[in-house]
Symmetry: C2
Subunit: 222 residues, 2 copies
């Protein structure tokens, strides 16, 4: 019984690792589509998100089966409940990658964002992609030094997000209102992706250490 | 044992009902603060959000205790797992109300949004508030006609959200880029509040009927 249970836990863990790398790839492709006006690739990300959603449902069903059939307690129970939370965050990261791809498709053949802000978004996307892959490694190895690196990456994403609003508010900003709205949403999506990554990180840290780190205050921006 | 279990389930259900009405009130006060530049009220919403977060943690801890001590199966198990998901959505609705209040505080003594768009936001906020109270009633009564009304309210919110982007893209729009960014975020927060309400509604519907309604496609806007 215990052996079956451990195998199930391991397999749910592997599912979460796979999801982390998938959302990293989704963001990588979404960013590529965004920056090159590649609608085919955008379409791939949009269609691929359904597979990420499906993975979440499947993992959750297996977690519920484990709860029903094995009746886990103590740390095993927390692990299973934690997996339900983590899969939800990862699913949401997939949605945010999809939103970036949808913006690319919506504005085709034009670029979504003005050239002046693209390097900032490129930095944010790069950090998001690294953060999501690192999340897969954290889930795999439970090496908490990765947790600290993820939180640090998210801090940088937040800083870049603030810098987008400073750029928009500056006198040099001359994009149309429609583009300003697109830029605002893009920045928000890239920023939220990191936040969800940190949620998963905090959950893993808690499962490893038993200690809950207080969440930093989530400001709407700046 | 069964009696204790039913009492626990009822009490978790009551917690979710209370949370629904609290996030409705949070949005009501956030909107009031937003539209009257009342920073004291905004501050109240911001501080009050910590209590909503606390409620979620408390409910989740109780749900985990029930899982550990009672080992529920079948529909009881789905109910408990569902409560974990619903509390997370309600907590997020509280965050979104807080974001509206934070924008009000950030721009004080100025208004966040130009007068031309305020009636649209007022309609969205009204629908959000009604939807959240209705969610409390749905959780209380399991009357699925309320579920349909909630989904209809969210559809209207989505329409209004699209209309905000049309207004921003129109030649008549003359707000500053900073204000355009604020308007974009405000609309997004008001829209996401409704989405989370629909997530809870779908969960309740599933628990009542055993049937999962497919989620409508979530577009970034328009």
């Amino acid at each position: 019984m215990r052996k079956v249970f451990q195998a199930e836990l391991t397999s749910i863990g592997e599912g979460l690792i796979t999801m982390s790398h998938r959302v990293a790839t989704a963001m990588e492709q979404a960013w590529e589509a965004f920056t090159t006006q590649d609608t085919e690739l955008a379409q791939e990300v949009i269609a691929g998100d359904a597979r990420i959603d499906f993975m979440q449902n499947e993992l959750d069903e297996r977690a519920i089966d484990v709860l029903a059939l094995q009746g886990p307690v103590a740390s095993d129970l927390r692990m299973i409940v934690g997996s339900l939370r983590m899969s939800a965050s990862l699913e949401r990261m997939g949605d945010l990658a999809r939103h970036i791809a949808q913006l690319a498709r919506l504005r085709f053949p034009n670029a979504v964002a003005p050239e002046s802000i693209v390097p900032t978004f490129a930095d944010m996307a790069k950090l998001d992609i690294e953060l999501a892959h690192m999340l897969g490694d954290l889930l795999d190895t439970r090496d908490l030094s990765l947790a600290r690196q993820i939180i640090e990456k998210n801090r940088k994403i937040d800083e870049l997000h603030s810098s987008v609003f400073r750029a928009v508010a500056s006198p040099e900003w001359d994009a149309s209102a429609e583009t300003t709205a697109d830029v605002t949403l893009t920045s928000r999506y890239l920023e939220r992706f990191g936040d969800h990554g940190v949620s998963v990180t905090r959950k893993v840290t808690y499962l490893v250490t038993g200690e809950w780190e207080p969440e930093s205050v989530d400001l709407p921006f700046n």
